[in-house]
Every structure is written in C-alpha cells, then in structure tokens.
C-alpha cells in the first residue's frame, strides 16, 4: 500500500469510529438529523471563509463551517420558539436554504478569475478522500482522542443527561452544558468529515453505525464500542473498495469509485447484516425462533393426538395407524411425515409398518401436553366463562406457551375451585 492509501485509510477509520461513537448520543436523543443540518449548513460557511482568505486554509474553512453550522442551529431554535414551526419542517427549511446558498456561493467561487477551480471546494459536496492531507489525519486523531476521552470519563454524566434530563437536572448536573459539549463535539466531527465523505453523506456516518449497533445490545456501553467499531470498519472497507479494489497503480485520485459513497454503502451492508442476524432483535433470529415454536407446537399436537387415541385402552398402549392420525389431525401427508420424523429423531415416537407408537419418553411428554391442554380448557370454562365447545381451539393456541410454573398455578386455582381431583398427578378428563 502506498503512503497515500495508508493516510486515507487511517483518516476514514478514525472518522468512522469517532462519528459512530458520538452519533450514538445523537440517535438516542432523537437528534439524528442534527448532523445533517450541520453538514449542509456548513457549506456556505466554508465558501464565505474561502472568499475571505482566498486560499484553502484548513483552519479558516473549518472555522467558517462551524460558525455557519452553529448559526443554522440558532435559526432552528428561533423558528421553533417564535414561529412554532414543527420540528421536521424547520429542519427541512434550514437544511435546504443553507445548502442552496452554499451551492450558489460555490459556483461564484468556481468562476473566480483567481483559479477558484484549484480551491477544490467542490470536494465538499461529495467528498474526496484521496485529497486528505497529513494535517487532516492529525486533526481527526486529535478530535477522536478528545471524543473518546470525553465519552469514557463522562460516561455516567452523558448517560443520565441523555436518558432522563429532568432527573439529571434535579441531581444538579448541568444538563445544558453537557448537551452543549456533546453537540459541539458532534459538530466538529461533522465538519472534519465533510471533505472526506461530503456534505450530502456525512450524516449517514453519524446515524448508520449507531443504528446497526443498537440491534446487537441493550447496553449503552456496548453500543458505544460497537458503533465505533462499525464506523471504523465501514471507513476502512469503504476506502479499500473505492481504491479500485486495491489494484496497483489505480489508487489516489484516479481510483475507480468515490470513497464517501463507498463508505456509506459499506456501512449500510453492516446495518443490513445487523438487522438480519443480530440475536433477539435480528429478523433471521426471530424467524428461526418462530419456526422453532411452530415445529414444537406441531410435535405437541401429534403427541396429544396419539395419547388421546390410546387413552381408552391404557395401561395397554396399542400402536396407532398413521392413516388414522392423518384423518384426525387433518394435516397434509408431507407435513405429518415431517413432524413424525422430527418427533422420532427426538425419541418421542417410533414408526413401524404404517403405525406409530409412543416411546416411554414420548408417553411422559404426551401426558404433560395433554394435562396442560385440559387444565387450560378447564380454566377457560370455569374462570373465564367461555363455552365448552369454544375452548378447545383457544387452549390449542395457549398450551404450548404454558411454562411449568403457570401449569402449577392453574392446578392450584382449579383445586381451590374443587374442579380437580385432589391428587394433582391425576389427569383431568377432557371437558368436552
């Protein structure tokens, strides 16, 4: 890798990590779009600063960006307070007006006789990672360290102020000052990110890593670490992909794909992967659980049906013809055989010559299922006043979700109502 590539890689990684970290608080406070406003509003500030100093002086441009960003926030506050414009409308107005002004100023600069073209201000629109300098890297390193230290040292304060500002205020925390510190850091990171990923896409770097991290954890500390890691990963991977897929001689400004958009797209892939795969909240995880529950339900139905077929002849347990079961359960042949296969694998049933027999283990399990079903039916009839011919289906839905302690509670309820045999082990007869 060339020196330029390493420089760009480090810069985008640090930028991704820092904005991911700070973005968590913006997202959790419902202020996710603030970064967007700051970024768009920065453009006219950058242009005005350039018109004043007439060169691409990093400090001056950054200063102009921050002043314009803060001015936009001020306008936003005034709009909300005195005109009572709704939050989203106010955000939209401020963002677009400032951006429009920025575009106009940009075209003015480009037509300047003094070679406005060379200023490279158009990079601010879509980002030009290849143009980052060592000074940019030092700047983002410094800001990254300050942001990391702030979040580490003031974790407790940031947590309580973000979660419950009223409570924090009563405890005496300076809520407004903590907020100001936090949003100043977010503003500075946004401004530093502008030349790298561009005005239009910077907000995504603040929003996507925290949103992805939120899928994986319910703890703020873990979310912060994950969001920073996702941000760094998106920055690194996006840079590598954009650098002409690492093909030699095609790095730098001649790279195949723009870096900013590639970083955001990589971040989006991380987000989608998190949305699908994260435990508990991930879509795939939930689908697997749902299928597991349905399989278990079907298996329990099979066992119950089998038990009820042989119940009359107990203690002799004759095998039951699978055709009979198919008729009673009204399942498709394929469905029935799948469930039988699964139940056989778990050692609950044995199939031979078109007949099905409960194993001792299966018999025990079937008894439990039938018991839960009948207790629940009895409960519905007795305590909930549901007609006996309706209860079977209702109980069918519920019994698979009944945990052992609930079954015990049902027993107690029914025993006090004298509807159950004193011997709790005994199976109640079917009420219908």
């Amino acid at each position: 890798m060339s020196y330029v590539t390493v420089l760009v890689l480090l810069t985008t990684m640090l930028l991704g990590a820092t904005s991911g970290l700070l973005g968590c608080f913006a997202v959790l406070r419902g202020r996710a779009l603030l970064g967007d406003v700051l970024a768009h509003a920065a453009l006219p500030g950058i242009c005005l600063a350039f018109l004043l100093v007439r060169e691409r002086h990093l400090g001056a441009l950054l200063g102009g960006a921050i002043v314009a960003g803060l001015f936009a926030i001020l306008v936003l506050g005034l709009l909300r307070r005195f005109v009572r414009t709704k939050e989203d409308a106010a955000l939209g107005i401020v963002l677009t007006v400032f951006f429009g002004l920025g575009i106009v100023l940009l075209s003015v600069i480009q037509r300047l006789p003094a070679g406005g073209e060379r200023a490279g201000l158009s990079h601010y629109l879509f980002g030009q990672a290849a143009a980052v300098s060592q000074a940019d890297l030092f700047l983002i390193s410094g800001v990254g360290v300050v942001a990391g230290l702030t979040v580490f040292l003031l974790y407790k304060e940031l947590l309580v102020v973000s979660f419950d500002p009223g409570f924090a205020g009563v405890q005496g925390w300076p809520v407004a000052a903590v907020d100001l510190l936090l949003f100043s850091l977010i503003a500075v990171v946004t401004m530093i990110g502008l030349p790298v990923v561009g005005v239009v896409l910077m907000a995504a770097l603040l929003i996507i890593p925290p949103a992805a991290a939120r899928f994986w954890t319910d703890r703020l500390g873990q979310m912060l670490v994950l969001a920073a890691a996702f941000g760094a990963l998106a920055g690194a991977a996006g840079t590598i992909f954009s650098a002409g897929f690492l093909s030699p001689g095609r790095t730098g400004s001649h790279a195949g794909l723009p870096t900013g958009p590639m970083i955001i797209l990589t971040g989006t892939v991380i987000f989608l992967a998190s949305m699908l795969c994260a435990p508990q909240k991930g879509l795939l995880w939930r689908a697997v659980r749902l299928i597991g529950l349905r399989v278990r339900t079907a298996e329990e139905h099979l066992l119950r049906e089998l038990y009820e077929c042989i119940e009359a002849g107990l203690p002799d347990a004759a095998p039951v013809a699978i055709v009979t079961l198919k008729e009673r359960l009204r399942w498709s042949g394929a469905g029935l055989w799948t469930v039988i296969g699964l139940a056989a694998m778990r050692g609950f049933v044995r199939a031979e010559d078109g007949q099905l027999r409960l194993t001792p283990k299966g018999f025990e399990k079937a008894r439990q299922v039938v018991r839960a079903h009948r207790l629940w039916e009895l409960f519905l009839i007795e305590q909930a006043g549901i007609a006996p011919d309706h209860v079977h289906r209702d109980a069918d839905q519920m019994e698979h979700l009944l945990r052992p302690e609930v079954v015990t509670e049902l027993e107690e309820k029914l025993q006090t109502a004298r509807r159950m045999a004193e011997d709790a082990k005994k199976l109640p007869a079917s009420p219908h």
């Binding site: 407790k156 947590l159 979660f163 009223g166 205020g169 009563v170 925390w173």
Partner: protein, 255 residues
Amino acid sequence: MSADIAVEIHDLTVVYHRKPVLWDVDVSVPEGRLVGIVGPNGAGKSTLIKAALGLVPLVSGQVWFYGRPLRESRHLVGYVPQREAIDWDFPVTVMDVVLMGTYGRLGWVRRPGKAERKLAEDCLRAVGMEQFADRQIRQLSGGQQQRVFLARALAQQAKIYFLDEPFVGVDAATERAIVTLLQQLREEGKTVLVVHHDLQTVREYFDFVILLNMRLIAAGETAQVFTPENLRKAYGGRLTLLTEVAEAVHRGGIP
C-alpha cells in the same frame, strides 16, 4: 425558619408562553407527611413540583428545603418523573436506571462501585424487582417500570421525595405496593409529595393535601382541607367533575 418544615414554597409564580400557570403559591409542608397535590387538569400540579425542583424557570418565588435553597440541598431531594417523559427504548437495564440514583453523591467522573451496586440491589428488593435487574426497561410492564423508577428515587437516599403521577398506567397491585412503600418512607420521617388526580383515593392515601387550581386553593391536614367547599373552589365550573367531587366527598364521609 423552623427546622421541621421540610418544604417551604414562597410566592411562586410560573409562566409558560406568557400564560401564567401558577400564581403566588405559598405552601409549607411539615416534615414526615405524605402529601397529595390535587387539582383539576391544567391546574399546575406537575408544574408545581417541577418549579420547586428547578426544572422550569420561575417568574418569581423562592423554594427552601429544610430552610436552604435547592442548590445547597440537592442531596435531600428524590424525584420520580412522569412515565411519558421516559424513552423506554433507551439501551439501559433496570440496574443501570437504579444506579442513576447514586450519581448525585458520586460527583463528576467517578463511576458507581460495589457499595453503590449493593445499595441499588437493596432498593430493587424494596420494590420487589430484584429478579429483573438485567432486563432492558422496555421489557417490563407499566407497573414494573414505575417500581424501577421508585427504586431509583430510593437510591437517592433523599429526605424529601417528589413523585409526578406515579399511579398512571399502573396495575392495582403496584398501586397498593407503591402506597405501602410511601407510607413506610413517612414512618421513617421522610416527606413525600405526590401529584395525584384520583379524588377517590385522596383521603385514604394522604394525610396532607395541597389543593391547586393555578392558585393555591388550600393546603393542610387532609381532614381540614379536603372539604366539599374547597373542592368546589378547585373544580368549580366544571360540571362533569362536580359529580365526581360529590362522590369523593360522600365516600370520604365528610358531613
């Protein structure tokens, strides 16, 4: 100023958007009382405690806790905000929330340690929520959520507690449990102020009542303040409420 006055509110006026919400409120709450702040909707009940706790700006007025202003007595004050004020999706566990009660004593930068965790566990046990310590707060019922916030206030180890509508969205069992706990706090000599809107239970729960309707209607012992005449003053003109008032008075057995 007498030391056994827990909360002293003097000439308190609050204005929202140039519209007065509270006018010239003067109240003294003696130590060790369970106080109901009662009044119709929009009477400024929540505003009164928010103003007392410095959460909304005052146009005029002073508030003292045991004779000292708020900035010198924050450690004496515990607070349970309204449920709607909370973002339930926030990535915090029950334990995290309760630990926040100890933050005030810790000061800047220092994190809660063993002693604070132990205290938080005790507070969770006091509200019967110890087995939920690791749950995210969204995964709790309304009543359980309210108990967690009560546990956080307990962890503040305050002498004066302010609760904003603690019985809203809460099951009957939790309401009983909370009332029992508040009575226990009173037995320990703490002072508890509760924003409450259910007139039926005022006499049962509180021994001291602050009756508000933008102005202070009356404040004092429940038996002396919670009278038909005062209630009519507070709720007067709202005909639908009059029947409720009448019923409340009837059930309370006031002549």
